[in-house]
């Protein structure tokens, strides 16, 4: 069963095999959770929103016409739900639109001595967490979900060149943080 494609699983669910939907959940839950957590910066909220996303996707499965891949459709739900959560939590929407060039706080967020002691993967996650939601979402989809820039553009409903701009800027700022903290020595 686990080798079934997304389309086959959806067809099965549409035919009434509700339990098969669990395969889709297992397939995408951790990757989607990684992205949503990077956007919301909070485990509890991330899991709650993700649960709603899977539920929304299930309820709207009948409208899914296989014109796009399931995961791009699903990630669009995830991304939009995360944005809704952010705005409903009255967080500053400017964060979403702000440029990484303005994020001076990034340069003084961490103490190098503390950082180098941490697990590298955790450290990188921590740095990505400091990016604005849209940048964090792009980094997360590109690296953690291994999506192409075209797929990301489709999910975020922006142009591919805009995705690249966000990706490059995010990468540069992460590079700067790592460089300033002399973390490369730890990596190499």
């Amino acid at each position: 069963m686990k080798n079934l494609t997304d389309a086959e699983i959806i067809e099965s669910v549409k035919k009434g095999n509700q339990a098969d939907y669990a395969i889709l959940i297992d397939r995408y839950k951790n990757k989607a959770f990684t992205m949503i957590k990077r956007m919301l910066k909070n485990d509890f909220d991330a899991e709650e929103v993700l649960m709603d996303c899977f539920f929304k996707a299930y309820n709207n499965l009948s409208t899914f016409k296989f014109e796009s891949k399931f995961y791009t459709w699903f990630y669009r739900i995830v991304y939009n739900s995360a944005l809704t959560k952010l705005s409903s939590a009255k967080r500053k929407i400017e964060n979403e639109m702000s440029s990484v060039d303005d994020l001076h706080f990034l340069q003084s967020s961490y103490n190098a001595d503390d950082l180098v002691k941490e697990d590298l993967s955790l450290l990188v996650k921590k740095i990505v967490n400091e990016l604005p939601p849209k940048n964090a979402a792009v980094i997360s989809m590109f690296y953690f979900e291994e999506m192409s820039t075209e797929e990301i553009a489709d999910i975020l409903q922006i142009s591919v060149s805009n995705v690249k701009v966000i990706l490059y800027r995010s990468r540069n700022i992460l590079k700067e943080i790592i460089e300033r903290r002399n973390l490369y020595q730890e990596v190499l």
Binding site: Q18, I25, Y143, F144, E179
Partner: protein
């Protein structure tokens, strides 16, 4: 010599530079250690990001989602059953009213001998309905119907509220 900014380095990293720019950049790496150093830093960042492990949801996450879906289906089924019951009740009342109207119509028509048996039965039914829907009982019936509608509405609202509350937990 061409000035390679971070944007160009990013594009080189993603293999999006033209062959000409690519060759030019590669020769810059040999001649300009500063550019090479910047690229290496970017490459390390790229590799660091590539090796990040995904975050994990709670162990019973899938189970919780499936439970939520199942619960929703049960609620929908119960709501449908409730609506069906209320609609059935109104349907019975409508059939009764139509029966009475039908009786009133056929009682004004002269019937042949062969129809007398039917006439007797329809008279019986008609009498029953005429008593039931008589002027005296009509206001009572209206009040009872209104009360039923109000009670149904209240229970439906309460039920929806209760279901929504349970569902959100």
């Amino acid at each position: 010599m061409k000035n390679f900014n971070d944007d160009m380095l990013n594009r080189y990293l993603d293999n999006e530079l033209s062959n000409e720019d690519k060759n030019s950049l590669q020769s810059s790496f040999e001649n300009n250690p500063e550019i090479k150093k910047r690229y290496d830093a970017l490459l390390i960042t790229h590799n660091l990001l590539k090796n990040v492990q995904p975050d994990l949801t709670s162990i019973d996450f899938s189970k919780m989602v499936m439970q939520k879906i199942s619960k929703r289906r049960i609620i929908e089924f119960q709501q449908k059953r409730f609506l069906f019951s209320v609609l059935s009740l109104f349907l019975i009342i409508i059939v009764g009213i139509l029966g009475y109207v039908f009786y009133e119509i056929i009682s004004t028509i002269q019937l042949s001998d062969s129809s007398k048996t039917i006439s007797v039965y329809s008279n019986l039914v008609g009498n029953y309905f005429s008593v039931f829907f008589g002027k005296k009982n009509l206001s009572i019936l209206g009040s009872v119907l209104s009360l039923i509608m109000l009670i149904s509405g209240y229970f439906l609202y309460d039920y929806q509220k209760h279901s929504k509350k349970n569902f959100s937990h």
